[in-house]
């Protein structure tokens, strides 16, 4: 059974000896892993979702069964460095390097108050030339042998706050400022169009997402989620299924989102990601027992404590435990609960993959 077949079985709820694996890492860890294998380290791809789709050869070398693809910056609007050292992308979001990360520091719609402010903003086109070149090439290269995950995270809420600023957006949502709906419609349209293209290109999974959770609970009430997001997410999911009813849809949300999970089931979600183990209540056994007949699971390996701070043996134990619980009856893609972070020892990453291989043996 090759990796592709393993993924297809998993997402059709057929149990295999071990589940398929997907992995993503931050660039600093990619460098150390490349050094370990004695291979050159690739440059990260120019995409809002670069961390999920870069270093895929390295991930396959480690033992990943899936490859991530997504939209990239188009040919005419690559991400650029400004004379002041800051970085600006095609959306006009300005980032600055702080420590290990490029963080958003200036927001192109920080001034937004009215629908006109949104209409005036030159929103990027999903079908701009060059946007899917990397995805096309990657699918051509790996599509037959590996599972293809079309990444579409930051689907509505997150891209919107990258444009407006987080605190402003959350308060303006509470005040129901008129621009908010117009903004969410524009962002959802961009994601829907990009996602449709990824479905057409043959992705096995479309991996949408927005972080609706904090460590302790949801960012917003279910009422606010229903007001702004549930209808737009449902519409987006339907657009993807209309093109390919067989495509499976995953949703990423960091943190604890227990109260929102039933809403995701209602709008047609297939796979929940990432099951952040230390977030309140996101217990794999409980989730499998409670929602295992309605949802499949993707993730589950802790990047907040276990992978950076645990021993290889603890990691092996955890992988076996997750496979036993979440892999039962199929419907599980094993993955770290986010990009594996720079403070993680190489041997811990290897231990995660080794543990999966050992199950196979």
């Amino acid at each position: 059974m090759n990796s592709k077949e393993r993924l297809i079985k998993a997402i059709n709820r057929e149990e295999t000896t071990r589940p398929p694996v997907y992995c993503s890492v931050v660039p600093q860890l990619a460098e150390r892993l490349s050094e370990y294998f004695g291979i050159p380290c690739e440059k990260p791809l120019d995409s809002l979702l670069g961390s999920r789709i870069s270093f895929m050869d390295l991930m396959l070398r480690l033992g990943s069964d899936c490859v991530g693809v997504s939209y990239c910056a188009p040919d005419n609007a690559p991400t650029k460095q400004l004379p002041n050292g800051k970085i600006v992308n095609e959306f006009g979001m300005i980032m600055e390097r702080h420590g290990l990360y490029d963080e958003f520091v200036e927001f192109p719609l920080a001034h937004a108050e009215t629908v006109e402010d949104i209409e005036k903003y030159p929103f990027p086109e999903a079908d701009a030339p060059g946007r899917f070149c990397n995805a096309e090439n990657t699918i051509k290269k790996y599509g037959k042998d590996y599972g293809i995950i079309g990444d579409l995270e930051c689907s509505i809420y997150e891209t919107s706050w990258y444009l407006v600023g987080l605190e402003k957006l959350l308060m303006d949502m509470a005040m129901e400022k008129p621009y908010v709906d117009a903004l969410f419609d524009k962002v959802a349209h961009f994601s829907t169009e990009a996602g449709k293209r990824l479905v057409e290109m043959g992705c096995d999974i479309i991996w949408c997402g927005d972080d609706f959770g904090t460590q302790n609970g949801p960012v917003m009430s279910v009422k606010m989620f229903d007001r702004y997001f549930a209808p737009r997410i449902e519409k987006m999911f339907k657009a993807f299924k209309k093109i390919n009813p067989e495509v499976k849809i995953a949703w990423h949300s960091c943190g604890s989102i227990l109260s929102i999970i039933p809403r995701f089931i209602d709008v047609g979600l297939d796979i929940l990601n990432p099951i952040q183990p230390l977030a309140k209540g996101m217990d794999p056994q409980w989730l499998k027992d409670t929602y295992g007949d309605k949802l499949m699971f993707f993730g589950g390996i802790c990047v907040q404590d276990l992978l950076p701070h645990g021993t290889p043996e603890q990691i092996r134990d955890e992988v076996r435990r997750r496979v036993k619980i979440l892999g039962k009856g199929g419907g599980y893609i094993l993955a770290p609960a986010h990009n594996i972070q720079a403070d993680t020892p190489v041997e811990n990453v290897l231990a995660m993959f080794d543990a999966v291989r050992e199950i196979d043996d």
Partner: protein, 211 residues
């Protein structure tokens, strides 16, 4: 003043305009700032904090209440100058070096301010020198540090060491928080307190200063 009940409601429901107008009227009517703050503003912030902790209110509601509270407090601050009895203590707060995540830290800062502490918010990406300088300059009783990332949380220990080196560790209580932070981690690095959310941060801060 009966109208002051409206201040409680305005802050609780996050209504900035109402919060400002009721406070203005109360000032005109010569109601003492401590009466306005202790009997209305703090009570409203305590209630929204409670609702946040038990999952009846969420981040947007807490941000809105904090905004309404700050609108009232801005008007009252000039009238409180020199009146140390109104403050539970001075807090210096920041997200540690290398980390730009600040929504959690800002919620803690707002809750502390809304519940009677004087808060000096140093923002994000704050170095150990900056924490030490701010503690000295403001004669702070508490320093609060936040981190979202496992790669930055270890910097909290460097800040505590810097406070030691500067000879002021014994004069200031250290509180830490943020998604990957645990009680155990707080103990390991020698912090005095840990809180998992903005509301319990206030009780912990009060406990640390004996308020």
């Amino acid at each position: 003043m009966e109208k002051l009940d409206d201040l409680y409601q305005a802050i609780l429901t996050g209504n900035l305009e109402q919060s400002v107008s009721v406070t203005k009227q109360a000032i005109e009517e010569k109601i003492k700032p401590d009466e306005i703050i202790n009997n209305h503003m703090i009570k409203a912030m305590e209630e929204i904090g409670r609702r946040f902790e038990v999952g009846e209110a969420f981040v947007p509601e807490l941000l809105m209440s904090a905004r309404a509270m700050k609108g009232a407090l801005e008007l009252l601050k000039p009238l409180m100058q020199g009146n140390a009895s109104l403050s539970l203590g001075k807090v210096v707060i920041g997200t540690v070096k290398g980390d730009l995540h600040d929504i959690g830290k800002n919620l803690v800062a707002s809750m502390l301010e809304g519940c009677g502490f004087e808060v000096v918010n140093l923002g994000t990406d704050v170095s150990d020198e900056k924490f030490v300088a701010a503690v000295k300059e403001n004669n702070a009783q508490i320093v609060c540090m936040s981190a979202l990332l496992t790669t930055t949380m270890t910097y909290m220990k460097s800040v505590i060491e810097a406070l030691n080196t500067a000879g002021i560790r014994e004069k200031v209580k250290v509180m830490v928080g943020g998604a990957p932070i645990t009680e155990q981690f707080a103990e390991q690095i020698g912090a005095d307190g840990y809180s998992s959310n903005a509301n319990s941060a206030v009780s912990k801060a009060k406990e640390l200063v004996g308020a």
